[in-house]
Symmetry: C2
Subunit: 416 residues, 2 copies
């Protein structure tokens, strides 16, 4: 007997027929003698519909009321899955966020889970019934409905798994695992059997949309074994999907063999260049201080060597969605910063190579730079972490760059 959390995304919950498929998968685990809690998303498209209502209601809506509105999507699917499970002969009941409760911070619309009371959950699981829990929602300290921000259902699932000390947390989605890169770009991309939390975190943060970044961070912190697998293919067997685990579980040899685990790309970056910034101490602080104060996340930063006239150009990236706001903030600081011109560009993409094997190998970055240079792809900015190297390039080169790097690091699957 194991304790399992199963999480199903919006496409898996889109309509009663699909919910029946979900119920069949849950029944398989129950019939195998496991205790199961299921975390569900809203039906595909429903959250967008509800968010649309809020935006139409007021551009600056009260996030506490927004939470009341958007949390209803997962409420509906959790009730429906409980009904369908019962009809399939599986005892089940739903627990809304306020019923367990799932206690969150008061940061409505982007709350963090603080704790989950598992008293009633444990009792239901011990009785042999399945607990169905809406993802994305909780109850804030003010006693009101809260939500975790978009994609928060993955985080809910991992948090529930941690709280109930689950043996694993299976995230059922519309892909059958984590790949070395996007298979729509590289058909010979390979599905990974395992990745480490850190690799997944880097992959998620640079555009691999399999899992929400925050949920991976939480899984790493809590040591929750997460598996990503398809709700549409396969039978959920132990050999399926991709397991996301700690370094310790990845064998040394496996890690050594595999220098790079995956290649990701992220089109949601925008580049900003401030020309002729005075080259004096504190100038950079005048740029990034106000952006930080406005909660705009700056990623890559490049400062050119000073011009002969004692000024320099500063280039950096921000999320494309924040570009307009960033330009406003900087325009307001023009005098203090002292730049002559402000340029921006959204036709850029960030390409990242990720792998824990990188730690013990030199030359990963230079392989990347050489492979791109050989195809005449110009690098506009670079950023690195312990297990990741990212470059910013012109967007039109996205697919070419991904393919070239996939081959350069030996990731292509053997031709069948």
């Amino acid at each position: 007997m194991a304790r399992i959390v199963m999480k199903f995304g919006g496409t898996s919950m889109a309509g009663i027929e699909r919910i029946r498929t979900v119920a069949a998968r849950v029944k398989t685990e129950v019939d195998a003698g496991h205790q199961v809690a299921v975390v569900v998303s809203a039906m595909a498209g429903e959250t967008d519909r509800l968010v649309g209502f809020c935006r139409e209601a007021a551009p600056l809506y009260d996030p506490r009321e927004y939470d009341v509105v958007v949390a209803s999507g997962e409420q509906v699917t959790s009730g429906l899955l409980a009904i369908v499970l019962q009809a399939a002969g599986v005892p089940a009941r739903s627990f809304l966020g306020w019923q367990l409760p799932i206690a969150t911070s008061d940061a409505h619309a982007s709350a963090r889970i603080l704790s989950i009371d598992t008293g009633s959950l444990d009792a239901v699981l011990a009785s042999g019934a399945v607990a169905v829990i809406p993802g994305f929602q909780g109850m804030a300290a003010d006693g009101r409905v809260s939500t975790l921000g978009r994609g928060g259902s993955d985080t809910s699932a991992v948090a529930v798994a941690a709280a109930m000390k689950a043996d694993r947390c299976d995230i059922y989605t519309d892909v059958d695992g984590v790949y070395t890169t996007d298979p729509r770009i590289v058909p010979r991309a390979r599905k990974l059997k395992r990745v480490t939390y850190e690799e997944m975190l880097e992959l998620a943060s640079v555009g691999a949309k399999v899992l929400q970044t925050r949920s991976v961070g939480l899984a790493m912190k809590e040591g929750v074994r997460v598996r990503v697998l398809s709700s549409f293919t396969g039978d959920g067997g132990a050999d399926q999907g991709t397991l996301i685990v700690g370094d310790a579980e990845i064998e040394e040899t496996e890690m050594e063999e595999q220098l790079i685990t995956g290649i990701a790309h992220d089109r949601n970056e925008a580049k900003v260049t401030l020309a002729d910034v005075p080259d004096r101490p504190g100038a950079v602080a005048h740029i990034f201080g106000p952006l930080a104060a406005a909660s705009i996340n700056v990623d890559m930063i490049v400062q050119n060597v000073a011009h002969t006239g004692g000024s320099t150009d500063v280039t950096f990236t921000v999320p494309a969605a924040e570009l307009a706001r960033a330009l406003d903030v900087l325009e307001g600081e023009r005098e203090r910063i002292g730049f002559s011109r402000m340029l921006h560009d959204t036709k850029v993409v960030k390409i990242s190579v990720v792998g824990v094997g990188m730690r013990s190998h030199a030359g990963v970055a230079s392989t990347m730079f050489k492979a791109l240079a050989d195809r005449g792809i110009n690098i506009q900015a670079i950023t690195t972490s312990e297990i990741k190297v990212s470059v910013l390039i012109e967007e039109d080169y996205t697919e070419l760059a991904v393919r070239v790097l996939h081959t350069a690091y030996g990731l292509d699957a053997p031709v069948a």
Copy 2:
């Protein structure tokens, strides 16, 4: 300063533009210095959509999970109205059923309101903010979401008005008041300034769809002054709509002048005839006992005089929606009841004349029978109460019968 409950139905909440119109009406009352609680329905069509999901999920769904699903419709509109009110400069916040809480019985899907805790509600109203409360929902003693059954939002509004000792409960709907009869049938129908609770109760129970029957009963019990008025026309001024109040508020002269208040029709009846039921003691109990046990509500009953052979025909009506179930129950009891044949007919309509003035006047029924007989309309069954006479006739005569009676009782408006 008055305390007011304003209730808005599904057509009034159908989309953000209409919710803005609702907010404008609420603002008028707030600007006039009143304390306002608003009770809202789900967007028109939404409850049907959610009920449809449940039915598709399982024909015999768990009512506790059904409640989780269908309660979401009012949750959405209450959050949205709070947002729209805030955008209009009116402080507002939503209170879900479990938050006040609105305590209900454990009869999920058709729960009764037991009590409403007004502590947090009073605090919000005293602060000058509007409380927005989803209708139709509450929290059962088991700590789970409950709903009151279809049309329950009217009942929610009256219950909230009673709990907060509101000066009045304004039910905004898609008609501008209660009429002497359906104006689509009789263009010269008159809007009533006032009706008594009992009249409204009889009118609602026989097909006037302005207010849910249960809400009128509750208003009568709690002495809540209810007003029905349009959310699409008029300005909500004191002269608008129809006031539903106790006998004491209707002046004697007004009551004496007006013999009959209104004429209603109800097509949702089905007639069942059991032929050749043995004419012996207890036979009738064998018919109606099993129907009552199956929670099938029998309305009109006619027993013919015994045939020479010692048997009789028994005719009665049940709600059309329950007909199939009623026939099943009776077929199962065929031997015990001993009838030879079972006939049924859904092409019938119940026509009712209602008025408190009836109490002090004889001849109301005979006026009805004569008016119908003059037009050759055959009466199949009759039932009466202190302030109502109802007859069952062939459905094709519905409009004719309503018009004839409207004129016979002098209800036609003067020709302009």
